[in-house]
Amino acid sequence: MYSEVVMDHFKKPRNVGEMKDPDGVGEIGNPVCGDMMNIYIKVKDGIIQDISFQTFGCGAAIAVSSMLTEMAKGKTIEEAKKITNKSVAEALKGLPKNKLHCSNLGADALQLAIRNYEDKKAGKVRVKLPMEDVHTHTEGDLCKCPYCSGDVDQGLEFCSNCGREISDTH
């Protein structure tokens, strides 16, 4: 199911654990599966000196967290901001279709941690990123899967791309 890189990061996750006195914390919950991720960063001279994670989630979520922390470590804040779901998924040599959404968890938590760090510096309170879980359905048209954005056949209660179940309102 998972690539070797995913399995490697899953089996030997890097940078696990809570951080004492972090400069920024990103906490996020995945509306699709209910999984959770915390990212902690320590920043010095605009560079992410240390990063760690805690994850309650699937194998992909754990591998994503681990890979993400490796990718962000040592990067400048500006560089780290450019880390996307896609780049994490690519670094993991791909994820199964129905697990693509798990990579959202990682990049979003990192961005939240950076935002939290910047907000703190600016003296603001922490904000939570809004997450959409809306399934838009235009009569006549093919609907789009809320998870993978693929076309959904009407009459199916599954996305034929990612296999995800689609709610009753479909």
């Binding site: 199911m1 056949d153 009459g155 199916l156 179940e165």
Partner: protein, 390 residues
């Protein structure tokens, strides 16, 4: 004496390679392809491998367009009822032909109980549908045309490509029961431009009780069987993996050996028809002289009845059939034969002779000789034969 099987359409013998693959699969005892652990991965890989092989056989743009089912019949029910229910808002009119297999006819008959209207177009004496008639039958309520490829009783092959063209032009979905053609002759879904085709593994030396349905991307239809997310949510239920593996291997060989099998069967068919005409009086070869399945001959023997011919041949270890096995419980004359204007008694005296890769010329010759004697014996008993000679 070895049994001479000339009833391939009822039960194709398994290809030795198919047999071996299935036995190996049974010994391996795969897990559940849906499981999220290593046993599941292994099973999923082998399932998808089979899907790729089947996709190749019909030139499907992607393996994902193939749904595995439990028979040609299930595929047909899925296609017809699935399209009908999913498109009911657009309309409730369906077009078919007079010579379809029972699984098409009865699926449609079932739908008429839910308010669907069915137009059935006639065929000519050779069993051919006239595309102009189909064109004429289309209304703005029409959601589906379902016309078979090769007929299982008389062998006639319909002009599917032309029919698909008409359907597409009128924005109507097209399904074809290709049970007798897929794996026997080239069927290329992209070249045909078709929306849905149904097929069955056993027709090309795969196991019985395994079928396939090709669904062009973007075609709207409801699953027939709802439940878990198997088959991309299109057909629920734990897979018959052993059977599907067998289908995959059968598909691969059918694809590879298509041309050599075709020329072998054409030779046998010629020999059979020539021999029959030479040796037995008062017979009719039904179906179209050219547009016909290469592995099937429909033979009406005048003045005698089919089941007694079958039984007498059986005593001589020759297996033929009066019609497709699934209809053999039915005693009425075949609707297909009556549709090509065969006389009622002649329809009752009709044999379907089907053969395949492993059939030999000797078997064909032996069949003709034994049949000659059987026909003579039964004609001696027949009130019709005497009448016709006085």
């Amino acid at each position: 004496m070895k049994v001479t099987n000339l009833d391939y359409i009822s039960a194709n013998p398994l290809l030795p390679e198919v047999r071996d693959a299935m036995i190996e699969a049974i010994k391996k005892d795969y897990g559940n392809p849906s499981s999220a652990h290593s046993l599941g991965d292994e099973a999923r890989n082998i399932l998808e491998k089979a899907r790729e092989r089947v996709a190749l056989l019909i030139n499907s743009p992607s393996p994902d367009d193939i749904v595995f089912t439990s028979s040609g019949t299930e595929s047909i029910n899925h296609a017809i009822k699935g399209v009908a229910f999913a498109n009911a808002k657009k309309g409730k009119h369906i077009i078919t032909s007079n010579i379809e297999h029972n699984s098409v006819l009865k699926s449609l008959r079932r739908l008429t109980k839910s308010g669907y209207r069915v137009t059935s177009v006639e065929v000519d004496k050779n069993g051919l549908v006239d595309p102009a008639n189909v064109h004429k039958a289309i209304t703005d309520q029409t959601i589906l045309i379902s016309i078979m490829h090769g007929n299982n009783e008389i062998g006639t092959i319909q002009p599917i490509k032309e029919l698909c063209c008409i359907a597409r032009e009128k924005n109507v979905l097209f399904h074809s029961d290709c049970v007798t053609s897929v794996g026997i002759m080239p069927v290329d879904v992209q070249e045909l431009g078709i929306d849905l085709i149904s097929f069955s593994a056993n027709q090309f030396n795969g196991p019985s009780g395994v079928g396939g349905l090709y669904i062009r991307k973007g075609v709207n239809l409801w699953p027939l069987i709802d439940g878990g997310g198997q088959e991309n949510g299109r057909r629920a239920g734990t897979e018959n993996l052993i059977g599907i593996i067998g289908m995959g291997v059968a598909a691969e060989f059918a694809h590879q050996e298509m041309q050599s099998r075709l020329s072998h069967m054409k030779k046998l068919k010629n020999r059979l028809i020539t021999g029959l005409k030479e040796k037995i009086d008062d017979i009719i070869i039904n179906g179209h002289p050219e547009l016909s399945l290469p592995n099937l001959v429909s033979l009406s023997v005048k003045y005698i009845e089919g089941e007694s011919i079958v039984l007498m041949l059986d005593e001589e270890k020759i297996i033929v059939s009066t019609r497709s096995a699934c209809a053999s419980g039915s005693l009425r004359a075949s609707h297909v034969l009556l549709s090509i204007d065969l006389d009622y008694a002649d329809a009752q005296g009709t044999l379907v002779i089907t053969f395949g890769k492993a059939t030999t010329e000797d078997e064909i010759d032996r069949f003709i000789n034994v049949l000659k004697n059987v026909v003579a014996t039964l004609r001696d008993m027949s009130p019709l034969y005497k009448k016709s000679n006085t």
